[in-house]
C-alpha cells in the first residue's frame, strides 16, 4: 500500500469540504473494497477521509412511510433489520446472497453502491484497462471474459458491477440521497450507476465532491411475490455470474406491476422499466416469464468466454419470476431450487 494522508471527518460538511479541497482524496467507510484495491495498488489515493464517525448509522422511518438507510449502516445490519425483513425481504435476501458474514459486518450501504468491478484486468495494474487507466485499452475484450457483461457494454469496457444489494435496490426503485458542494439531491437508483460508454472510469453519476448519505425505500406491494436468485461458481461467498431480483404485484390473476433487475450482466444493475411495463395485465405464468426473458435479453451480446451467460440469464429470469409468482422466494441458505 502506498502512503497517504489521513484525516477524520466529524461532520458531513467537513467530509464534503475535504473532498472538494482534494479531488485525489477518497472516503473510507468499511474499507472492504477500498483497502483491498489499495493493497493491489489499483487505487492509490493521495488522501483518505475517514467518514466512520459521521452520524449515518441509523435506519429511520420517515413521515411518508419510507425507510431511510444511512450510508454507514452495515450490510448485515440492513439484512437483519426487522423492518427490512418485513417490508423489503427482496433486499434482505439479496444482501445475504453476497460476500461473507465478516464482510457484511464491515461493508456499508454507501460502500456497497460504490464498490468497483471484479474484472481481473481491472485488478491487475500490469494489464491495460480503460477503467483503471483511461485510454490504455480493454484487456477483457478478446481476453479472458467469462465473468463479463452481456448487456450495455462498450468497445471501451465490458466489466460488470459486482453488487447483489444494488440489484435488489434497482428492482425496488430506491432513491440515493447525496450531499455535495451544491447541497443535497436525490438520485433515482436507475440513474445512480451508469453504462461504460466512452468513460468506463466513471462507475456512477456522483458529481465531484458528492457523497452518499443514505438510501431511501418507498412502500411497495412486492412482499408476497419476490425472489432473489443468484447463480455462481460456488454456492457461497462468490460473485454472481448472473443474478435476478424479481418482484411482482399480482391482482385477479394478472400482473399489475413487474420488476426484474439483473446482476452480473452489465456495468450497472440492469433494469428495463419499459420492457417491464409491457407485461402489465399478462398472466403470471411460465409462458409469460419466457417472453420477459426474451424481451430483456434481446440486445444481449456475448464476448466469447461469457456466451453461456445469455442462456443462463434466460433460465434464471424464468426461474426467479416463477419463484416470485408462486410466493416461494429462493432460500439463501439451502440453495436447492424450489
Amino acid at each position: 500500500m502506498r502512503p497517504f494522508d489521513y484525516t477524520r471527518a466529524e461532520t458531513v460538511r467537513e467530509a464534503v469540504a475535504a473532498l472538494v479541497a482534494n479531488p485525489e482524496a477518497q472516503l473510507l467507510a468499511g474499507g472492504t473494497n477500498l483497502v483491498d484495491l489499495m493493497k493491489y495498488e489499483v487505487a492509490h489515493p493521495a488522501a483518505i477521509i475517514d467518514i466512520n464517525h459521521l452520524p449515518l448509522r441509523q435506519i429511520e422511518e420517515l413521515a411518508d412511510g419510507s425507510l431511510r438507510i444511512g450510508a454507514l449502516v452495515s450490510n448485515a445490519a440492513v439484512a437483519y433489520d426487522s423492518r427490512v425483513k418485513e417490508r423489503y425481504p427482496l433486499l434482505a435476501s439479496a444482501i445475504l446472497a453476497g460476500a461473507s458474514p465478516q464482510l457484511r459486518n464491515a461493508a456499508t450501504t454507501g460502500g456497497n453502491l460504490l464498490q468497483r468491478t471484479r474484472c481481473y484486468y481491472f485488478y491487475d495494474p500490469s494489464s491495460p484497462c480503460n477503467k483503471r487507466e483511461p485510454g490504455s485499452g480493454c484487456s477483457a475484450i478478446g481476453g479472458v471474459n467469462r465473468i463479463h457483461a452481456i448487456l450495455g457494454a462498450s468497445d471501451k469496457c465490458i466489466a460488470v458491477h459486482p453488487s447483489d444489494m444494488c440489484v435488489a435496490l434497482a428492482a425496488l426503485a430506491a432513491t440515493v440521497e447525496v450531499e455535495g458542494p451544491e447541497g443535497r439531491r436525490y438520485i433515482p437508483f436507475a440513474e445512480f450507476h451508469r453504462l461504460p460508454g466512452d468513460h468506463p472510469e466513471r462507475d456512477n453519476t456522483l458529481a465531484p465532491g458528492e457523497m452518499v448519505l443514505a438510501v431511501r425505500l418507498e412502500g411497495n406491494h412486492f412482499v408476497p411475490h419476490h425472489s432473489y436468485l443468484k447463480l455462481r461458481d460456488r454456492l457461497s461467498f462468490a460473485f454472481a455470474l448472473v443474478s435476478v431480483a424479481a418482484a411482482m404485484d399480482i391482482a385477479d390473476g394478472e400482473i399489475v406491476d413487474l420488476r426484474v433487475a439483473l446482476g452480473g450482466v452489465a456495468h450497472m444493475p440492469w433494469r428495463d422499466s419499459l420492457a417491464e411495463a409491457e407485461f402489465a395485465g399478462a398472466p403470471p405464468t411460465e409462458e409469460t416469464f419466457r417472453k420477459v426473458a426474451v424481451r430483456l435479453l434481446a440486445g444481449a451480446k456475448g464476448q466469447g468466454g461469457n456466451d453461456f451467460k445469455i442462456p443462463l440469464a434466460h433460465r434464471a429470469i424464468v426461474r426467479a419470476l416463477s419463484q416470485a409468482a408462486a410466493g416461494t422466494p429462493q432460500d439463501q441458505t439451502v440453495k436447492a431450487f424450489q
Binding site: M1, R2, P3, F4, D5, Y6, L28, G31, T32, V35, D36, M38, K39, I48, D50, N52, A76, Y80, A99, S100, P101, Q102, L103, N105, A106, S236, F237, Q332, T333, V334
Partner: protein, 171 residues
C-alpha cells in the same frame, strides 16, 4: 508504540482495547489491524492468509462483531474493543469453541483455526444460525484448505446446541 520506519510520514494516535488490555499507539494510517496485532502486539494467533478478505484466517471480533482484520485500517477503529483467539480462552481455560474444535478434530494444519473459532464466536453471538445448514452458510467466510469443514460444523453445532455452556462462557 511506534510502527514503521520514517518519522517524516504521518502517524496518528490510536487507542485500542485488545483482549481486555488498553493500548495506545502512534500509527501510520496504512497499518492494518491484522499487521498491528501480529507485529507490535505479537498476537500471532490471528493469521495472515490471503490478506485480501477472501479466506477469513484473519477474522477477529471488533466490538463483538466478526470482521476480516486484513481489510481494516487500524486507525479507522480507534477506540474499539478487539478480541482475538488469544482473548477467547487459554490452554488452561479454553472457550467452549476451542474445546469443541479439539474434541471434534476440527482442523488438520490449524492455520485457519483461529479465524474459524473467532468467526464461530461471532456467529453464536449474532444468533442467526438455527440449523447445521445455517452454520455451514454462515461459516462460509472461512476457508479451510485441508477440508475439515465437516468437523468444524460438528464443533460449532455442538456449542450452539449447548446454550448452558455458552451462557457460562459469557459470564
Amino acid at each position: 508504540m511506534e510502527t514503521g520506519a520514517s518519522h517524516s510520514l504521518p502517524s496518528i494516535p490510536v487507542t485500542l482495547t485488545v483482549n481486555g488490555e488498553r493500548h495506545r499507539f502512534e500509527l501510520h494510517p496504512w497499518v492494518t489491524l491484522l499487521d498491528l496485532l501480529r507485529g507490535p502486539l505479537q498476537l500471532t494467533g490471528t493469521k495472515k492468509g490471503c490478506d485480501q478478505g477472501q479466506c477469513g484466517a484473519c477474522t477477529v471480533l471488533i466490538d463483538g462483531e466478526r470482521i476480516n482484520s486484513c481489510l481494516k485500517l487500524a486507525v479507522s477503529v480507534d477506540g474499539a474493543e478487539i478480541t482475538t483467539v488469544e482473548g477467547l480462552g487459554t490452554p488452561e481455560n479454553m472457550h467452549p469453541l476451542q474445546k469443541a474444535f479439539l474434541e471434534h478434530d476440527a482442523y488438520q494444519c490449524g492455520y485457519c483455526t483461529p479465524g474459524q473459532i473467532c468467526s464461530a464466536a461471532g456467529l453464536l453471538a449474532e444468533g442467526h444460525a438455527h440449523s447445521r445448514a445455517d452454520i455451514r452458510e454462515l461459516m462460509s467466510g472461512n476457508l479451510c484448505r485441508c477440508g475439515a469443514y465437516t468437523n468444524i460444523a460438528d464443533a460449532v453445532e455442538e456449542v450452539m446446541g449447548n446454550q448452558a455452556v455458552l451462557r457460562e462462557a459469557a459470564e
